[in-house]
Symmetry: C2
Subunit: 162 residues, 2 copies
DNA sequence: CGAACTCTCACGTTGCGTTATTGTAA
DNA sequence: TTTACAATAACGCAACGTGAGAGTTC
């Protein structure tokens, strides 16, 4: 009875190159995001190589999806921080107010949570604005590209007809 | 009999601020593009204010549409340069080879035009690749935003239910 | 063992943002 | 003449790109 397929955790650890390929980012970007405090590999190899778990990769992928929204790295970090604080608070809040509901106690906790929510909603609003712009841009670029293809067609007719 | 509405050419000249507002760019960007040789106001006011014609604005708008493709400013300049050379050559070519077609003369002209066309087509290919990516990004961002709204909804339920 | 991958500096680049100061337009 | 808009110049900055030189992994 060998304990071979018991833990597959070490197998799911990826080096930075693998991660970069999977999420379609440059290695430099991932390291830069680390310098800016956005991501951190959950472990390192004995020799110092960054090793990323699937969770780490998921976080990076999330950031990469967020990227076209043109937030600064600081804002992206802030946003992920809010998510964490909010989910952490959700747990404690669950235990604390099981049946007691209106007026749970001191307002400070509620306020901090409310504040976080407001910030989050602000980010969401900005994100949706930006998403709108992105859609517009796609339309504009489509327009541009098709116009360019038209011109190339005409120029091609002059250069090498038939 | 005043000669008032005779010429409306000066009326169609816009200052940089107006242009910036119309094409949704910063004034700084337009000036920067000028420094990089991408656009140039077709005239200046006596005092030195940049004055843009409708053609100038069209060019700027074209560049703005091109912008999301993430070419460098040098590449964008190059692309517009190709367009101009190609359309200029189309005219002379029209006159030159009215009925004569196979083997028009020395190959240098044909080669330069062919080269331009190749370059143009290269840019078009890159543009279409990038357009694809843009579409993907929109999908990813939509995904991201909707996930975020979901989370905000849940957090909101915890914070201020009903 | 070598080829490929990664590490940490550290400087370079792109595309503007941002004053600061001074002149122009209506 | 005020008030808003513009010009030039120059420094600043975010988000990486790009080696250099040395160690690590397989």
């Amino acid at each position: 009875m060998p304990d071979e397929p018991v833990t597959d955790s070490p197998r799911t650890l990826l080096q930075i190159g693998e991660v970069a390929a999977r999420v379609d980012l440059s290695i430099r970007s991932i390291r830069h995001w680390e310098e800016m405090g956005l991501v951190r590999p959950s472990s390192r190899s004995p020799g110092g190589f960054r090793l990323y778990s699937e969770e780490d990769v998921a976080r990076i992928k999330l950031l990469r999806y967020m990227k076209p929204l043109n937030f600064t790295l600081g804002q992206m970090r802030h946003l992920l921080e809010i998510r964490e604080l909010l989910s952490a608070e959700a747990e404690t809040s669950d235990r604390e107010s099981a049946l007691i509901w209106p007026r749970t106690g001191h307002a400070s906790d509620v306020d901090s949570g409310t504040r976080l929510l407001q910030d989050l909603e602000h980010y969401i609003d900005r994100a949706e604005e930006r998403l709108e712009k992105l859609r517009d841009q796609v339309a504009e670029v489509e327009d541009f590209v098709s116009r360019l293809r038209e011109e190339a067609r005409h120029a091609g007719d002059g250069q090498r007809p038939r």
